[in-house]
Symmetry: C2
Amino acid sequence: MKIQVVENVLKANDAVAEANRRRLRQANLLALNLMSAPGSGKTALLQETIPMLGPENPCAVLVGDLQTTRDAERLRDIADQTIQINTVTGCHLSAPQVAEALKGLDIEQLAYLFIENVGNMVCPATFDLGEHVKVVLLSVPEGDDKVAKYYTLFQQAHAVLLSKVDLLDVLDFDLDRVRSDLAKLNTRAPFIQISAKTGQGMAEWIAWLREQRATIGRDFR
Amino acid sequence: MKIQVVENVLKANDAVAEANRRRLRQANLLALNLMSAPGSGKTALLQETIPMLGPENPCAVLVGDLQTTRDAERLRDIADQTIQINTVTGCHLSAPQVAEALKGLDIEQLAYLFIENVGNMVCPATFDLGEHVKVVLLSVPEGDDKVAKYYTLFQQAHAVLLSKVDLLDVLDFDLDRVRSDLAKLNTRAPFIQISAKTGQGMAEWIAWLREQRATIGRDFR
């Protein structure tokens, strides 16, 4: 009974996700689903990324949070368009929430749509939003054991960003352990070390974004 | 339909939680539900806490994780008894999982039972496990905006631990913001600043634990 309902919820979500994806593809923009634990630096990453993409690449951000509009406020002056989705008790964004939010965006004008999911390494992993690519952040302070623990999330990633690498000097963190855990479950995703604070790795991340954007016409999933 | 099922799941969980609580109370131990984001330092805290409680206070740990037995391995030589619960895709521990795990413990011999929940600030907040007290950790690198964002979790806490305070010097973190957000929603929980690395705040935390343990006979919930 319980399992049946969960399956139905996932099926209904996936149908809406496919419709979202078609709509975003027609608009010729790249849609990214950013997922991580709370406080891994998703918003800080976007604050640095969007100016680097330049005014010729208009960006919108959909921000998912249980409560508050703090992340949207941080991005309001940086992104061309920003919408906050409050999930209240929901532990992830869903495709219908994204579909609803898309109504409020002028997507024909956009080059990139960043969907900042609820800070959570579990639930967002099973809900397709209709994005083109999934980006997973892991921050250095969270520890080097997280890839193996949350493998469903890392397995699906099109890119894995190790954030806050400026803290590698002050924290015990075994980079080789993360690389080795990742190699076992995902050989496609580049592993990019970044610091929104120092700018380290940002050029590599931006180059990856531009490359993904250029493949939009092709079926790269 | 969906809501009905969710309500039934919660009701079934709560009934088992009450049975767990009765059982734990009879055994005269203090059961704590530790909740936080991934990588806030729940396991590191227990690695330091259990030796400080001394051999006269036998401790057991139930560790919840999607995958791996890494946390249980870290605690195996420190706790008197350790059980790893792998939730696979489950984003929180449930009362039936705890009930099942209790069968594997000799609870009459214990002074403390630490239940280390799945690293997640959303789902664990709505599932009573039958614990006596809820302890919520927030680590400095996660940022000073998390209390307002995840208020359901912080509202229920009997104690809030700010962990990794040794990083306050190298990170931007507004302590007053956290204190002020917390004061709006929870006036009961002490706010204890700790570092498992430097030992800061550990004496205050241990004193709080001993005090809670001493009140077991009384109805302090």
